[in-house]
């Protein structure tokens, strides 16, 4: 049994990250790590139509702030581009 300062330091040394990752996510990360990069990309990149956003072939903004404001003003909120 661990006790006192020694036990506490060992607890933090074990792997503070591992214990904080939910099991379901950890399983997903490990499964992804076993896949070749080409497969990971094939699973990851999907094309779905985003209204307004996909209706122009080119956009440019002088500042990120200008881009963020454009998103908030023009895109449907459910796309999630609005700042919290």
């Amino acid at each position: 049994m661990l006790n006192g300062a020694t036990g506490l330091s060992i607890y933090f040394m074990i792997d503070r990250h591992q214990s904080e990752i939910p099991a379901e996510w950890l399983a997903e990360f490990e499964a992804a790590a076993r896949r070749p990069l080409a497969t990971r990309l094939r699973y990851a990149f999907i094309h779905t139509y985003k209204p307004i956003m996909d209706d122009a072939t080119y956009r440019a903004f002088d500042t990120m702030e200008e881009y963020r404001q454009w998103c908030e003003k023009n895109l449907p909120s459910w796309l999630g581009y609005g700042r919290v």
Partner: protein
């Protein structure tokens, strides 16, 4: 429009290397290259906004098949903060000043090489999403932070 795939990622890598463009994959596409299991629609590149680099980027984008007009090329050469391209073989976002990252050079020093692809360190990807603070970032961040922790642990264990 077909989704971005491995062959296109290779073409991006080859074209940008041919023109000696300094860039990093960032955003969710960068995280995915690092192994983050999630979905996205387009690739995001964080580009060094030096004049020479931006000129080289325009040449590389033309090689890749992006139909850039003169004005659009000038936008890129001037290094506007954000350029969204949907006029090529795949969707590409060019970010010259991502939220949460002070200088390209800093991110470049921390970059991760993934099979030849230069990718932002997960800490930088997280920092940019935290700073952007959009609803979709808020939804992604807890899982992305967990992935960063997993990635760091597995990286340490293989050293």
């Amino acid at each position: 429009m077909a989704a971005f795939d491995y062959r296109q990622a290779q073409e991006v890598g080859e074209a940008l290397a041919r023109h000696a463009v300094r860039y990093l994959f960032i955003g969710k596409s960068g995280a995915i290259l690092l192994g983050f299991p999630d979905t996205t629609q387009d690739a995001d590149l964080f580009v060094d906004r030096s004049k020479e680099n931006c000129r080289a980027l325009v040449d590389a984008l033309r090689d890749l098949g992006f139909a850039l007009t003169g004005d659009q090329s000038q936008d890129i050469e001037r290094g506007k903060d954000f350029v969204q391209l949907k006029n090529g073989p795949f969707d590409l976002d060019l970010v010259f000043a991502p939220d949460g990252i002070e200088r390209f050079e800093d991110a470049w020093q921390r970059r991760v090489d993934v099979e030849g692809f230069p990718v932002c360190h997960p800490d930088d990807i997280i920092a940019s999403k935290e700073a952007a603070n959009r609803q979709k970032d808020r939804e992604t961040l807890p899982r992305l932070r967990a992935f960063r922790d997993y990635w760091l642990r597995t990286r340490q264990s293989t050293r």
